[in-house]
């Protein structure tokens, strides 16, 4: 197959799978769902692999979607190293997670089972459309569709009120981001009259050649700044960064594979992809670019502090996801695009691993998610425990796990970046790395070490079936060896990911000094020490009850939004309902009806049925008419 056929096949395979499952899935035997659901994603993975091995690239236009005057919207797919990289992550990790779901969702009844895999395939299709789209229109389409699939999957257990509320919250928040995205696209279109990436970026100006960490200033950039900030609103929302992050922790109401795939590995990293894809714009729009780095750094620290006090294992992972995406934002914000994308890859490995291992635990614990009620799982769930530990160490960034190399690269590049911004975000990032060590350690020791909690729901838990263990094991292996494809952050070894992405997002200038490496190693050692120390550390928060309360309420963000937006809106809606809708609008409609009815009742009395009444009216009318005519004739 040619490159263009392969590219469209990547998209069409999950779409076809979704259509088949949606149409007939629940009537066919379960085995069909089990094969089609993950199968199409693996087939898409094979196509992506063919593109990857063939070193393919190109911008393929398949048809024209809209043609109206000067507006010409083609359906084109941009195949370059960045989109191939993203497709590999989505289909590869996605395939593993959907295979895992075959076991995890086994308790669902037939229709729900098929529905789950339909939604998952829809999600994979939307996400692939998002990363493969070659123009802004289809970027927005994919962007909105991943929001929709996220909504459907968070609310998968629609009988649970909390799940429905979480799904609604996620959808509303995401729409805020979509609006920002669309407005940003409008600004770019109005300015450059172009809709495809290639033409917009060409119009933005020779910025594609600007690939170093710092770009020379160019003329008036206010329009670009504006567009970049609007696009950033979309990226921040989708990636759950401050201040539009509140939907992600609630999204953990969805099934665990959903949390692994959508709310850890792929969809929430779309913001990072967006900034990397739009790097010609961000390279010029320096204020917006710095804002990306600052938002990322602040979110990383912010989320890590909240993770310290969470007791729900999935919520700890959710806040740690926010924190790690903060690192990615930090990286792309300082222009280290390939470092951010490498962290995206490694995060996809170890966070999907953590979520699925946590899923095994939750499965064994009969849906109990409170870590305080676990304890001592190490003896009973040995394989899961080992894999969870691999994920934890990778998250903490312990050498030689993949997380170390990606995080070290980001921190090293921030540390060696000229200017104060680099140092500031490095400081925040390093502090976050220490906190990460602590909260990850707390999660690990609380769940797996020590004695079984007396409140544990299951005395003798069973290890998960093979279909759930094997995908986790594959990710565990990737988390162990994945880092060795790019060890350049330490000053030696290969830099495969950055080299591969260089053609799309520019080269990294590997000028980080020995100091950066040493600082990185020290950070790692302290974080690891904190990981171990978390075993015995007394609950420090008992001494600072106000801090404990602040963190447990997640800095009161939900309360603030409730006070600032939700309650005023409720009040306005209530006022409109009580004082406008009911008395005025409803009243007007009802009164019209009542008046008409009463009038008809009154008038119907004139229909007496007596002949002489009619004649009398008739004659009386004639007399009146004659009188009127006579008066007019005489005057």
């Amino acid at each position: 197959m040619s490159t263009s056929q392969l590219a469209i096949a990547i998209l069409l395979l999950p779409a076809a799978g979704a259509i088949v499952l949606a149409g007939r899935g629940w009537r066919m035997p379960r085995i069909v769902t089990q094969i089609v659901g993950p199968g199409v994603v693996w087939a898409a993975f094979a196509c992506t692999l063919a593109l990857f091995l063939g070193n393919a690239s190109g911008d393929f236009t398949y048809w024209t979607w809209i043609k109206s005057g000067s507006l010409n919207v083609p359906f084109n797919l941009l195949v370059d190293h960045l989109s191939i990289f993203m497709c590999l992550v989505i289909t590869g990790v996605g395939g593993l997670i959907i295979t895992y779901s075959v076991g995890y969702m086994a308790h669902e009844d037939g229709p729900s089972y098929a529905r789950f895999f339909t939604y998952m395939d829809v999600f994979v299709f939307s996400m692939l459309l998002l990363v493969l789209a070659g123009n802004f229109v289809f970027l927005v389409v994919g962007w909105a569709m991943v929001g929709l699939s996220s909504y459907l999957l968070i609310g998968f257990w629609y009988q649970r009120r909390s799940a429905v509320l979480a799904a609604r919250k996620a959808f509303v928040m995401n729409v805020i981001g979509d609006v920002g995205m669309i407005l940003g696209t409008f600004v770019l279109f109005v300015t450059y009259h172009a809709i495809t990436y290639t033409s917009v970026f060409r119009a933005v100006g020779g910025a594609i050649s600007c690939t170093r960490l710092v770009c020379p200033p160019v003329g008036d950039t206010s329009t670009l700044e504006f567009a970049a900030f609007l696009l950033l609103v979309g990226a921040v929302t989708k990636s759950a960064q401050l201040p539009l992050h509140t939907w992600l922790p609630d999204a953990m109401e969805g099934p665990t594979p959903v949390s692994a795939l959508i709310h850890a590995a792929t969809m929430v990293t779309a913001g990072v992809y967006l900034v990397a894809r739009m790097h010609p714009i961000y390279d010029i729009a320096t204020y917006a670019h710095d804002a990306v780095a600052i938002i990322g750094a602040v979110t990383a620290l912010f989320a890590a502090t909240i993770a310290i006090v969470q007791t729900d294992i999935k919520r700890v992972l959710a806040y740690s996801t926010m924190s790690q995406i903060g690192y990615m934002f930090l990286a792309v914000g300082i222009g280290a695009y390939s470092a951010g994308l490498f962290h995206l890859l490694s995060h996809a490995f170890f966070k999907a691993l953590l979520f699925m291992a946590a899923g095994n635990v939750i499965h064994a614990m009969h849906d109990e998610q409170d870590m305080r009620k676990y304890g001592g799982l190490w003896r009973q769930l040995r394989p899961t425990s080992i894999m969870f530990l691999v994920g934890c160490l990778s998250l903490v960034g312990v050498i030689p796990f993949v997380g170390f190399f990606s995080k070290e690269q980001i921190l090293g590049l921030a540390f060696s970046r000229p200017g104060t911004l680099g140092l500031v975000v490095w400081g925040v990032g390093a502090l976050t790395a220490l906190l990460t060590g602590f909260y990850t350690g707390r999660m690990w020791w609380l769940s797996f070490a020590g004695k079984p909690s007396p409140q544990r729901p299951v005395e003798h838990p069973h290890e998960a079936p093979m279909v759930m263990l094997v995908p986790v094991a594959i990710l565990a292996v990737l988390a162990v060896i994945g880092g060795f494809i790019q060890t350049r952050a330490l000053g030696v070894g290969p830099s495969a990911v950055s080299d591969f992405l260089a053609s799309s997002v520019g080269r990294v200038s590997w000028d980080d000094t020995t100091a950066a490496v040493v600082v990185g190693l020290v950070t790692m050692v302290v974080a690891a020490a904190l990981f171990v120390a978390a075993m015995r550390m007394r609950p420090w928060s008992a001494r600072f009850p106000w801090a404990q309360r602040l963190l447990e309420h997640k800095y009161y963000f939900d309360e603030m939004y409730a006070a600032a937006f939700v309650r005023p809106m409720d009040a306005i809606a209530g006022f409109g309902d009580r004082d406008i809708e009911r008395p005025l609008i409803n009243g007007a409609v009802m009164e019209t009806g009542i008046a008409t009815s009463a009038g008809a009742a009154g008038l119907s009395l004139t229909q007496s049925g007596y002949f002489r009444n009619y004649v009398l009216v008739f004659v009386g009318g004639a007399v009146v008419a004659v009188i009127v005519i006579l008066i007019r004739a005489n005057s």
């Binding site: 119907s604 004139t606 229909q607 049925g609 002949f611 002489r612």
Partner: protein, 109 residues
């Protein structure tokens, strides 16, 4: 010209108009106050003929044939009306014995 030459004698036109008005009023009063359907039909005929008389009077007075033609038209319509009215009455009498039009008030609103 307000006098008409009728058979050689001069008569003021207003007498004919007055006669028409009186006949019309009698007919209208009859329609209003009488209850027997046949009498009501006769009263309607009376009103129509009163109008005819007025038309012809004016035709003579104004030396204009349109009035006479209109009177002929009115007679034709009156004949048709009598046929329809009598047919309805016969049909009603077939089903029940009606002496009073007030008994026919089923269309009361």
């Amino acid at each position: 010209m307000s006098t008409l030459n009728i058979g050689g004698s001069q008569l003021d036109a207003s007498w004919f108009l007055l006669l028409g008005a009186v006949l019309f009023t009698i007919g209208a009063a009859g329609v209003l106050v009488r209850k027997n359907p046949l009498v009501i039909l006769i009263c309607i005929e009376l009103m129509l003929n009163a109008v005819n008389l007025t038309l012809i009077t004016f035709a003579r007075q104004l030396q204009n044939l349109e009035g006479q033609l209109f009177a002929l038209m009115a007679m034709t319509v009156a004949a048709a009306e009598a046929v329809v009215g009598l047919a309805i009455l016969v049909d009603i009498f077939h089903t029940r014995d009606v002496e009073d039009v007030d008994d026919l008030s089923e269309l009361k609103g």
